[in-house]
Point group: C2
Chain length 335, copies 2
């Protein structure tokens, strides 16, 4: 069945399309009699006002675009769930996009969201699109950065940000391993093109340098993927001496590290101790792994992001100063 | 900066809005001179044609709505990634919604997608919305069911479906445990309101009845969540005799089962053997768990779904017979 148009409804009710529109918008300028005729025509023709037509009039949609680097990482999907649970109550709908940690793809997605006239954009950037993001924000579109700030360019502090205290947490994790007596540390690093990668590594370096060590004994530059963690352990193994402890700077890489260590028959923590930025739920299956982890709160970060979005989309708060909310963490341990 | 309108562009270029529109649509009916004036005005005013306006004209958007029951379950997000990787190349964008296994929420989301004039809908239904889904399909909207078919009502076989051979796979899993000598079987069941829950349990029952057993010794009706798996083991424990083997009918519940067994100090498989519908990546961290699992291929299912969507959205295939694609599986084992 083809959808009825507003013109057909108007013809059926013998009124103008403007009158149909007034009825749909509950305007008081319509006579009771005309209202009844329009309602009857709507019912008869099974007319549904197009959300597109309505959003065109307002030049905005009730959609919020969300760009994350990996939709299969539960960390980002927990954040998304927190956002949805908050903004959904106000009738906003999320449109998810996955950049796959790819700068070019992210750039195309930003362009698309802009064209779609989304009401706001939330992004955990793969890096390299600072100019585009800033330009969208300057054009009046509410933009909230999550998890990752922009490359340290001018103006990057003009955007709302909900993130974690990456440097301090990575510092704590590393220091804990040093205090436990480890000095041969392997570091599974994130990509340096994103802020979380850079900041976490800064925290690691600060901790070991304070301890009198110049550089980690083993370093692998990963990409926040499970495969990155697997490759890191393989590379460490090829040096002839495995580190006695590994700091892994994201949850997916940590899972890869655990997987490869166990494949090699190594015991955690007696052969290799682990400290992870982010919980790996599967770590709970290991027997007494004494696995240190930073207890991230992605769902709570999502809730705060949602609240911030709602306040930005209300006219009064649109031009308020940027709001930066940093979540601080504690170290926990899977005993 | 406020967005420029087509009227402002027309005024700046001293042409009609129809001429601006023709330039935007690369019409040949515009003089070179007018085209240059319009292009200059567009650049000067930083005008961006609204995707909303364009989609209104076509009464469709380039968006595909996807409703899944749990966006934090990597199984559904792998399917989604497969879909995105396929339809993204043709310029389609995914709009994700999470029903949280809630029939009412799913109903509201279906309504919303209909209003948004999406180009197609993909749904792994939480159950109970068969009439709404059928009605959307009958109105001409391409609808593809993934993972779950509709409640066995009339017409449910008129929809495209990409799913798994649930009954046969659950039958194989259960039979394997029986062949290994287990007779005290615990079953962690999915919800009976969705087809995967029902079909998998049918497969379990068929296997044990062929083996001469009437009912599983332990049965827990779960909800496809980690907590469901945890609660199942707790309930089994309260009966005084833990089953010697557990069939768990989805990946998230299996993780919960493993977690609770290990918390209780039980060894897998010597105390309790496990067979899981769906891989639990964390199972690889266990030492020789001999864990049987059905090797699902969610990414491939997503790719097929994407191809099916593209063919349905082309006019020729819109009214072709429904296409049902069932993925068959083998049992694998984490040794």
């Amino acid at each position: 069945m083809l959808k009825a148009t507003i013109k057909e409804v108007a013809a059926e009710a013998e009124v103008s399309t403007a009158t149909v529109s007034r009825v749909l918008n509950n305007s008081l300028k319509v006579s009771i009699e005309a209202r009844q005729r329009v309602s009857a025509a709507i019912a008869k023709l099974n007319y549904e006002p197009s959300a597109i037509a309505r959003s065109l009039k307002q030049d905005r949609t009730f959609m919020i675009g969300i760009i994350v680097p990996d939709i299969t990482n539960s960390y980002f999907m927990e954040i998304s769930k927190g956002i949805e649970d908050t903004v959904g109550q106000s009738g906003f709908q999320l449109m998810f996009c996955s950049s796959d940690e790819n700068t070019d793809k992210e750039g195309r997605l930003l362009q698309l969201l802009n064209e779609k006239r989304v009401a706001a954009v939330v992004i955990a950037t793969a890096g390299g699109n600072g100019d585009k993001i800033m330009s969208m924000s300057r054009s009046g579109l509410p933009v909230v950065l999550i998890d990752r700030s922009l490359d340290g360019q001018d103006g990057s502090n003009q955007l709302d940000l909900v993130a974690e205290d990456n440097k301090a947490s990575a510092y704590m994790l590393t220091r804990r391993l040093l205090q436990d007596g480890h000095s041969a540390l392997g570091v599974v690093n994130g990509p340096s093109c994103v802020s979380t990668g850079r900041e976490r590594y800064e925290g690691v370096l600060q901790a070991i340098r304070e301890w009198g060590i110049d550089e980690p004994s083993h370093l692998y530059n990963g990409d926040f993927s499970v495969e990155g963690g697997i490759r890191a352990v393989r590379q460490f193994g090829q040096t002839g001496s495995m580190p006695t402890a590994i700091v892994s700077l994201n949850n997916r890489m940590t899972f890869g590290v655990l997987l490869e260590l166990i494949r090699r028959g190594l015991h955690i923590p007696s052969d290799v101790a682990i400290a992870s930025f982010g919980e790996v739920e599967s770590g709970q299956l290991l027997k007494n792994p004494k696995l240190y982890y930073i207890d991230q709160q992605p769902y709570d970060m999502g809730k705060r992001t949602g609240e911030l979005l709602l306040s930005r989309m209300s006219k009064e708060k649109r031009s308020a100063d940027p709001h930066v909310e940093i979540f601080h963490h504690q170290i926990k341990c899977i005993l």
